[in-house]
């Protein structure tokens, strides 16, 4: 390969894993955070419904 082209690619190719890791990490962590929050939201909603039912039953 042309030595000057090799010089250009010397910083481009090796940096790719670091760039991919940086972007993937942000997106993956955001996705995980959303999934955890939504699943705990669903669980809490189910708990509220159960407790409200229990209170209504006690009141009868």
């Amino acid at each position: 390969m042309n030595t000057i082209l090799a010089d250009i690619y010397s910083t481009v190719i090796p940096s790719a894993p670091f760039i991919i890791a940086a972007y993937a990490l942000v997106w993956a962590a955001l996705l995980v955070y959303v999934i955890i929050t939504v699943s705990s939201l669903k669980k809490t909603e189910a708990q509220v419904a159960l407790l409200e039912e229990a209170i209504a039953r006690k009141a009868e």
């Binding site: 082209l5 910083t11 481009v12 790719a16 940086a22 942000v26 955070y33 959303v34 409200e52």
Partner: protein
């Protein structure tokens, strides 16, 4: 104690919650657009000068191209969002200290959680960039050091919350700590203007960004702000429901 009737308390299920899904969707769209702009529209930053110009396709290349600089388009916006989220946490801390309403403590806790998330993003993206460019995972650069202090204070906030049982005392200490953490923000922001650093140059002093770079950073920053807002509302809704579960449990026990 302030009269609770006079204090308007933030609540889940109000108009900001109707913006939750559109905010998250638009945020995802803008960050993806920003990512594509960063790689397919903005020219790579020039590194060292080549011994002689070379044609790549139909473009004359005169410098080594720094592809690792592309991390900047996510790194800077997430750092700014972490500062904004911390500003909200400090605001709610201040509101708690003046009103003694637990609701503001809940808001502050959720805002601090979002802060921690974005602080971790900033640290991780910055570290990957540092590792490639300088061959080290860590360097005691002034901004890195002040930002590390910020991250440690944010982590200490959650450690402190778990260590105190009394809700009123816990909220008071946490509010004070969130305000103290926010004091580090202007220090962190201004430090490179006082102590010049090669790792974190003052962009404005270095001649500013090209219009393409500025547009891309703005698109990602607006996207990240919307994502942070959406996450905050989602988590706040969950936190309010969890508080309702506790209240209902107490109601059952009392009967």
């Amino acid at each position: 104690m302030a009269d609770s009737k006079k204090v308007k308390l933030p609540e889940a299920g109000q108009w900001p919650d109707r913006m939750l899904v559109p905010a998250l969707a638009l945020g995802a769209l803008l960050t993806t657009t920003g990512f594509l702009l960063a790689f397919f529209w903005v020219a790579p930053v020039n590194g060292a000068k080549l011994s002689e110009p070379v044609m790549v396709g139909d473009v004359t290349v005169t410098h080594v191209q720094l592809l690792s600089q592309k991390i900047f388009y996510f790194h800077m916006p997430v750092a700014i969002v972490s500062f904004v989220a911390l500003a909200f946490a400090a605001y709610y801390g201040l509101r708690f200290l003046t009103t003694r309403q637990q609701r503001f403590d809940t808001c502050g806790r959720v805002a601090m959680e979002i802060t921690l998330l974005f602080v971790v993003f900033t640290m991780a993206t910055g570290d990957l960039w540092t590792r490639f460019e300088w061959g080290v995972w860590w360097t005691w650069d002034p901004r890195l050091t002040t930002y590390l202090i910020l991250m440690l204070i944010v982590i200490a906030y959650f450690v402190l919350r778990n260590a105190v049982d009394d809700p009123q005392r816990r909220a008071t200490y946490a509010s004070v700590l969130s305000i103290l953490a926010f004091v580090d923000v202007p220090i962190c922001f201004m430090i490179t203007r006082v102590i010049p650093s090669s790792v974190h140059p003052v962009v404005a002093r270095e001649g500013g960004m090209s219009p393409e770079m500025a547009i891309t950073v703005t698109v990602v920053m607006v996207g990240m702000m919307l994502v942070a807002f959406g996450l905050y509302r989602l988590r706040f809704r969950q936190a309010r429901l969890a508080e309702r579960v506790e209240a209902l449990k107490e109601q059952i026990e009392e009967r």
